[in-house]
Subunit: 449 residues, 2 copies
């Protein structure tokens, strides 16, 4: 499997000189990055982007680690057969027109399965956009970089049955400055399934968190859940096709059976998969796991300079069943010693609309140092004129307590600049109190796995 | 009430020369905008920002339409008494330290009530940030504009019990380029309550949609709901303090009783208030009402170039009980006549990953022109290399069908630039399929009021 991500030699079958063709974009991704052992395969061209072209992969003398296939569906069986003959260990089939496309396509996919059945060749796809690896820069995405950004290096890996959902989320990760390790769009999952990918990522050194967009399972349900149960890394999944209509749409999209939503949700819960309700939650949770330690319990302190936001956060904490204990008398006295008398020392701790960085620092440090709280939700409204930028340094320093710190902050450029500084220092920032609390709740859930 | 928003003469009581004081920021907002009849009141200054200062509002010879009070709580009764003597019709009390701040504060607020009891003076506040009117530029917000943006002119009016929540949302509206008419933070709502404000806004010509952040009601519950029922404009509310802890926090924040969440939700539903679960929903719904017509029914067509997103939207449509009918045979034939055979003509209509602008235009126009659909959810992934910018013009043109068009689109700068063009042309754009469908659902709910 590793050869998919760190191939020494790559063939692009269907590499094209026409910039509007997928085969052009995929080949140019590799060429632009400067992969040296790169072979365009196209019977109708002598060269692509100045690189010598071959009529068939069998004409290449060197060993090929990874072949990417982007030719019309009908031609795929033949070129796949040639890949097998060439003993190519890893093949990505980008082409669509298989089990997602009615009976003829289904038969064509069966043919592909027979071709690889007795070989050592492993296949990702068909009907997918393949791989983006932020470390090795393997990039089979046919979406031009000016339209669809590629995230920087990080510790989140992402598997997606849908190429469109996958690439859009990649583009968002890029725009938010959140790094990833590996992205795999596996489409119809004809050979390599979500189970294989999760198994592989569970051992991948640069992967700390696994996120998944699933339509239906391509692997045996029971085996999938057993694998998931064994994996010690957090797995967060967004399941599509929960409704009747959505389920029907799934089958014409990646040829899957969506299955009952309730069965999925129950199984996810039982086997320790954290379920996201939409892609924003998927990324919210991924960001928390990517940056924060797992809490030891569920006792939350809410610290804010905006009373109303404190109330909304408290509502969400209660709704999700997290604990919101009052500070002890001893802790209150410690806080009050360095704060004006009109701050509200309940929980939420409302530092008041004239809060400054020192007041935040006192509350943050004392709550994290105490044995009374397992995590802090910090709602900082940078709009408040008294709040100096020093507060950012204080928040970053507080990471040393090794308890989760989740920030809620939102606004226009002034606040966004400060949020960016926090994010770059590994402090997750969310726009609503509810999303901040939900992200913390995901960490608490995982602590019980 | 109108004098709050279009005063001809303004006194700022507590106007200060110290830039760190609220009284400075508030006064400078008015001075910078160039309000001519502007009077700083401060017994310890001769002038503020070059404008002659008075020791008391009673020393001003001209009539005062609006007085803004930003002095310590204990001094407020005296200056309010002077405002009453001066027959000032509108007073905003920014100062805090009243019923939200324990027993002494409660007594002080009672004193204020007695002062205005027999007068014609109406009061907003205390413990609030007052008013921002995008048309008249009345702006009592003590948050500097470089930290907290002020939205442009528009048709949404926004009342907020919390100043922090209110100003943060204003800052977000500013950054998203969404316009407003009037913003009113009414804090403890000692005199003018949410009911008075909604009553006023229901007749305000530049207000099409009313949004509200509420902690507890300041007016009689039954009367409030009767008012709401009469109002023909959409009212969207975010209610904080739903939980036990949140309810307690509310009382130390704006001195309100939060009340039971279930009673509120049931009453909201019965009297036609659309409830938002968080501030993102509040703005999502406001944007839809601000720009889109009310649909005649609940039949939705989902049109997309990203199969997975179509599935997620279909799931949400089903969950919310909207209808997702298949296109009729006749409509399918019309579509197929101008599309490749591999598009999926169910609902969602999946135009496939190589969709171009013409394909979108055909689907959009035929669905809107047909009698089969009341609204369209359009999920456009601009990342797709085949999708030309012409699609934006087609979407904007489709407004002429006078049916709601809700777009889901997200990504980095390439997509964001295109989303901005849509937003500026009055097409609402949401980042997730779920949020797009929920916004449409809010319109459908209102159509039944």
């Amino acid at each position: 499997m590793q050869t998919f991500f760190t191939p020494k030699s790559i063939a692009v079958i269907g590499a094209s000189r026409d910039p509007s063709k997928l085969g052009y974009i995929i080949f140019s991704n590799f060429a632009n990055f400067g992969f040296k052992k790169l072979y365009p395969i196209n019977p109708n061209a002598d060269e692509v982007l100045g690189i010598k072209c071959y009529k068939s992969i069998l004409d290449v003398k060197e060993k090929i680690d990874l072949a990417v296939i982007a030719v019309p569906a009908k031609t795929v069986p033949q070129v796949l057969e040639e890949c097998v003959k060439k003993k190519t260990p890893s093949v990505i089939i980008i082409s669509s027109g298989f089990s997602e496309a009615g009976e003829d396509g289904f038969k064509l996919e069966q043919q592909l399965k027979q071709i690889i059945a007795k070989s050592k060749t492993r296949v990702i796809g068909p009907n997918c956009i393949g791989i983006y690896d932020a470390y090795s820069q393997v990039d089979t995405l046919f979406l031009p970089r000016e339209r669809c950004g590629r995230p920087k290096k990080g510790n989140i890996s992402f598997i997606s049955q849908s190429g469109a959902v996958g690439s859009t989320i990649l583009d968002v990760l890029y725009s938010r400055g959140i790094g990833i390790s590996k992205f795999i769009s596996y489409g119809n999952g004809m050979d390599i399934s979500e189970r294989d990918l999760i198994e592989f990522l569970s051992k991948d050194k640069t992967t700390k968190v696994i996120i998944a967009y699933l339509e239906g399972l391509k692997s045996d349900g029971r085996k999938f859940l057993q694998t998931v149960k064994r994996v010690k890394k957090p797995i967060i999944a967004l399941k599509a096709g929960k409704g009747k209509k959505g389920g029907q749409a799934v089958s014409s999209h990646t040829g899957s059976l969506a299955g009952s939503s309730k069965i999925y949700s129950a199984a996810f819960k039982q086997f320790g998969i954290i379920e996201a309700e939409n892609w924003e939650e998927l990324l919210d949770y991924a960001l928390a796991f990517s940056t924060q330690p797992i809490p030891r319990g569920n006792r939350v302190a809410i610290i804010t300079d905006g009373g109303g936001f404190g109330v909304l956060a408290a509502d969400e904490v209660e709704r999700l069943g997290l604990a919101l204990p009052e500070p002890s008398q001893q802790l209150k006295e410690k806080l009050l010693a360095r704060m004006p008398s009109y701050v509200s020392l309940h929980n939420p701790i409302d530092l008041s609309g004239d809060a400054d960085a020192e007041r935040y620092n006192t509350a943050l440090k004392e709550c994290l140092a105490s044995k009374e709280y397992d995590a802090v939700i910090l709602i900082t409204l940078f709009q408040v004129p008294t709040l100096e930028d020093k507060v950012i340094d204080y928040i970053i320093k507080a990471k040393s307590f090794k308890k989760p710190i989740i920030v809620c902050s939102v606004g226009s450029s002034f606040s966004e600049g400060r949020n960016k500084r926090l994010l770059e220092a590994g402090i997750p920032v969310y726009p609503t109190p509810e999303r901040a609390v939900k992200a913390l709740n995901a960490l608490v859930k995982f602590s019980k796995k």
